[in-house]
Symmetry: C2
């Protein structure tokens, strides 16, 4: 008998049938004796359609008006979900973000929640009513409609779960949960029963298809257990929670590869204090996120500086560095956009030695050259040639015991195919 927040993404409310299925899940949870707050996204492609309408009128729609426009998508969903719950014979009431006092700052299209006045929700819950809240939206101090940007509905759900002290927050989506690797790249990827906030955050690309890291940070901050599961079946999902003892036994929880970065090398930078600061100050001024940085040991008072930037920002970063070259007294500037970053993550790493060594050896056995390395407490990343990316992911996945156990029958199938 607790309070449960359930969030349904756009695909989970895309059609009348799916809305009815969502209503069934919601009322099943309610019938089991729980109070339920439901957060819903806009149906399917609604938001894109609305944005297209705006761009038919102007190339630079006002962000305030975009928010007025886009917020209708979730408003449609909440009304429909409430009706579907009524049709099953249960009490439900829908609210927009503004109506339930989700107060944000005024940064339209990417506002952040500042405060939630949950009195109205509490009042409805107290009367035994299921409360449906529009995700992704709020109002600022002047009652202008705002939206929360990418992953906004998840943020709404987690924020409501946090402030209402919910037992957990269910995230219903179109995948079964969080996998040890992207199943499209690694056929033997295994669904995880549990993973910690930190692991998901470190390996954003594992979770990115499911939840935006902003909402996971929020869940971590307020210690809201997230239960990611499919709205299309009854499979057990994945629980994202704070680290628990048993997790430490699993050395590596997941592996991922991304091809979103490019590498820049500045040769022969004079090895005097302040050079690195100068470079990265100029890069930062242009809003480019630098991920990995390596500086070689200095030879004859000069060192090579290599770093990675988002591939989209490569040209801007190159221009910046070229302009700086003379001032630095540095040598030539090289770049490579055909790289991939392979990462493994696991909170067990902290207490287990040899994870890095094992990863390097596996790659060496496959004759895959490691160009850069970066490590954190619970993550190891290697930059490699992107031609080897998927193969490298699969061998590392196997080496760390992440492959699913194929049952006899399935094995047979594998053999025969």
């Amino acid at each position: 008998m607790g309070l449960i927040v359930q969030k349904f993404g756009g695909t989970s409310v895309a059609s009348a049938e799916r809305i009815k299925a969502a209503a069934k899940r919601i009322t099943d949870t309610y019938k089991a004796g729980n109070k339920v707050i439901v957060v819903v996204s806009a149906r399917g492609e609604t938001t894109d359609e609305l944005i297209n309408l705006a761009y038919e009128l102007t190339d630079s729609p006002s962000k305030r008006e975009l928010d007025v426009l886009m917020s209708t998508g979730e408003q449609i969903s909440i009304a429909l979900v409430a009706m579907a719950i009524h049709a099953l014979g249960y009490p439900a009431v829908s609210f927009t973000g503004g109506q339930v006092g989700i107060i944000t700052d005024s940064y339209h299209t990417k506002a952040r929640i500042k405060n939630i006045n949950a009195d109205r929700i509490q009042k409805e819950l107290d009367t035994g009513t299921i409360v449906i809240v529009a995700g992704f939206q709020g109002i600022d101090a002047n009652e202008n409609i705002t939206t929360l940007g990418r992953g906004g509905s998840d943020t709404t759900a987690v924020a409501l779960a946090a402030i209402m002290k919910a037992e957990r927050c269910d995230i219903f989506t179109d995948v079964d949960g969080i996998y040890t690797a992207d199943p499209r790249k690694v056929p033997l990827a295994r669904k995880l029963d549990k993973i910690s906030y930190d692991e998901i955050l470190e390996l954003a690309s594992l979770g990115a298809q499911v939840m935006h890291s902003r909402s996971i940070e929020f869940a971590k901050k307020y210690n809201v257990p997230l239960f990611v599961r499919s709205s299309f079946n009854d499979n057990e999902g994945t629980l994202i929670c704070k680290e628990v003892k048993e997790m430490e036994d699993i050395v590596v929880s997941g592996a991922a590869v991304s091809k979103d970065d490019a590498k820049i090398t500045i040769r022969a930078v004079p090895d005097v204090p302040g050079q690195a600061a100068k470079i990265f100050h100029e890069i930062a001024k242009r809003n480019i996120n630098v991920d990995m940085i390596i500086q070689n040991a200095s030879i004859e008072g000069r060192a090579d500086v290599t770093f990675t930037v988002p591939r989209n920002d490569l040209q801007l970063a190159l221009d910046t560095v070229e302009r700086l070259k003379e001032e630095l007294g540095a040598g030539e500037v090289l770049y490579d956009s055909k790289i991939a970053k392979l990462s493994v993550v696991g909170i067990g790493m902290r207490s287990h030695c040899g994870v890095a060594e094992k990863m390097f050896r596996v790659l060496a056995d496959e004759k895959i050259n490691i160009q850069m390395i970066s490590t954190s407490e619970i993550k190891i990343s290697c930059v490699i040639d992107d031609a080897h990316a998927d193969r490298a992911l699969r061998v590392v996945h196997t080496a760390f015991g992440l492959d699913k156990v194929v049952k006899e029958k399935e094995e047979e199938k594998v053999v025969h195919v």
Copy 2:
């Protein structure tokens, strides 16, 4: 340099091109030195599409949730109109009904405006901003979203014009204005330059295609001049205003015919006090609106009572009367659903004699039998066989000088065709 309210109906904002055209009209009015408040409806078929979504889920959607759902239609329109105005280089800001303090009662799907707190609109107007308000919607005292029912956007526009003391309220729609008769039935129908609130209200069917009588009553009450015009051309529209001197020179302003009624006759009702009261009390209890009532002169202590009801309510009214027959000690009950009501209206009637006589004579000359007659200060209605309805309308229209003057060229065309 005044304040003008401009209302754009659903067809006037149905596509990007039409929204741009609306924005052009709005900014032209603004450039001429006026402050402008714009009220918009949902685009084209949006509201119907939303309602269909609801009925895919349930046969009896909650009215509160229908309002949450339907109000998104106007919210989409306001954002798009604001963007289109921005694209022309003018300042504009959009508001939902709730945001500008349109407070209604709690009768969802047919709420009535109780109060408007216009501070926010005034503040924006004072800074020279064009204010776009979502029509058709408001919030109740508990901030639940409400909608105003049929003709709701017109009501919003008129209410805002009244409270803001606007110079006039432009109603942009898909017709050129108010005609002396329905042009589909009377090819020679003429567009009126002016008509009084009372005439439009008496001849609802003339104006019904353009504006709901509720908003005209509102305009009359607060003396808001309404200017009905097409959003597709620059033709002069029709001004709906209070009676002015010159109007009295025009005896009849318009004519209309409706086939929405049916006639019921109760034969040989004993002519004792309270019989009529008994009949119409039972009818009223069933929410049936009775329009015309005739009682014949009593013969041998018995009279025939004839009345009209909406055709949709005929069966219910007949059942009611049949059950009552015995109690009344009346004779047989007859009915006829093949009737039409022909009306002419004009405030000039009050000071001109012979209007009724002329109407009766014209119908007699055409061998059209008059079954019932009812008159008010500014209207005469006759019930006739519905087979003659359109012909009767045309001859009456001509007899009262309502036909448009066909110019020579047009006459030629008429002859040759």
